[in-house]
Amino acid sequence: MSISTQIVDDMVANGINFVTTVPCKQLGGVIDEVEARPEIYHIPSNKEDEGMGLCAGAFMGGKRPCIIMQNTAIGVTINTLVTLTQFYRMPLPMLISYRGELLEPVACQVEMAVHTKALLAQLNIPTYHFHHQDDAKELDAILKYTFMCNKPVAILTDATFWGGY
């Protein structure tokens, strides 16, 4: 089974049925898998804060949401995370492509990578880092934890996890 299939299987098993995405090369397999699943309403966003608004609405309407995005989005979404997702206490698993880590070919991506964990820590967002494919075995528990505590939770997936670029 591919790692993308395994990830989306865990999402579906945890009742996730509303997923918003912005495009990403590394997460492309997961996004294709999300699009293919009849259990999931897939709604691409133009920007990640818009996606978090959609997820907030879907959660209040009775769905279990998830956002798939790159770590650069942390810079875009701090206000939304703080004043919407956290202030109103809503769960939001964030499956994040951790650009700018080992194997990264684009220098500019490193500029955001060096701030990613510090920003997440500053925001008190529980953060998990998938470096080896075995790490994804924790996804099921992370998703259960997210919907238990009603918080945004970050799952960083780096290039080593995805097997390079």
């Binding site: 509303f18 818009e50 907030a56 879907a58 769905k63 919407l84 109103y88 206490r89």
Partner: protein, 184 residues
Amino acid sequence: MIRSEILKEIAPILRPHLVVCNIGLPSQEMHMIDDQPTNFYMLGTMGLASSIGLGVALAQDKTVISIDGDGSVLTNLGTLPTIANNVADNFILMIIDNGSYGSTGDQPTYAGKKTNLTDVARACGCENVVEVQDKDTGAALEAAIASKKMTILVVKCDSGNVKVPVITKDPVVIRDRFMNAIAS
């Protein structure tokens, strides 16, 4: 008419439906005029009333009306293509277009200058875009609800504000009673 006069007039039409109220004065005015558990008040996060409303509409069957502003739609202009391409026939986006950022002191928006949000919404692919003058809002809103077609309602009105108290309700209380109203 200014926004608060419109909201006062359409409050009885809004009452049976789910309403997502934009940040700042629109939320404060709705809270003062006709506080209902079916109202979701945004206490922050400018620009996302349309996204939150679309999310609620896609998740369940009850009619959802997002009360947005021209300035907030300009802040999150990417929302219009998303709405156009994810049709929820129980969703109405009502843009109160007074050409100004009311909550911050009525600074002019580009929607009050060259940019026409009705044309923008149509260009983004939205199929039912209706522009009305303030006094016709109630009739247009009733027609949009009855049509059971996703509608973008652009309400042209005057800028101006009335004095309203800030909302001191806890956000979790606002969210919880809104979710209970949806589930009931």
